[in-house]
Symmetry: C2
Subunit: 149 residues, 2 copies
Amino acid sequence: MSLTYAFGKNTIFSSQIFMYSKYCFGFVNLKPVLPGHVLVASFRVVQRFSDLTSEEVSDMYISAQKIGKIVEREYNGTSLSLVMQDGPEAGQTVPHCHVHIIPRKVGDFVENDDIYKEINKSTRVDNEEREPRSLEEMDKEATHLRQFF
Amino acid sequence: MSLTYAFGKNTIFSSQIFMYSKYCFGFVNLKPVLPGHVLVASFRVVQRFSDLTSEEVSDMYISAQKIGKIVEREYNGTSLSLVMQDGPEAGQTVPHCHVHIIPRKVGDFVENDDIYKEINKSTRVDNEEREPRSLEEMDKEATHLRQFF
């Protein structure tokens, strides 16, 4: 049995969550574009970055900084992409403010920024191009990451 | 006469800066990928996001939130892209931690995420593909934005 959270039309199981801060939670991705691609979202369901309070903004990005250090190290990255698609015209597909945190390394995409094309698909359950991961796989990843927070 | 700041190999003139916060400054772009594409950088010259203190992280993103609201409105956007290329393998070309803030609207790129290919070039003076703007043009834009901060 597992608690669940709504994330747009998606369901996040508590077993996918590896970090809770005061205002945000970090969770592993159903369809990561690269290994270690995780998300941090506000507890409060608001669509736009401008809807967050200053305290929530601080907490979200201090959390993103912490998470970034961990996933870069754990997935042998040498850089990080930190991306917020803030609104539909920026590629946001889930109307719940969140940051993508993605470990990067040399050669991870043939053309470095093909990654951004992939991000748009990463939070959509209805994306048929990538196979969704199993709950077991996500649970295992979250369990590994959880020890660092 | 104008004060100047180093931003990697680039020179930022004080006339390009439209916002100062406690730890960061916001400035207009030599080669914006879209109208209203601006940057916010830490005063302290550090390369990686992980090099920032929590206070700097908070200040940078609270500043980015404020700046985003203004540029989205002033450039008739309906969304925002907020992107940090944190390290060379994420496309960072200037080794000084900064966030790209880009107003977005329907149809601004033929393929929505072609924007990310452009971002890599946007902070390079040596990029020959886009014409650098004149100081006069950047000064005019910064003067307009400065009134909102």
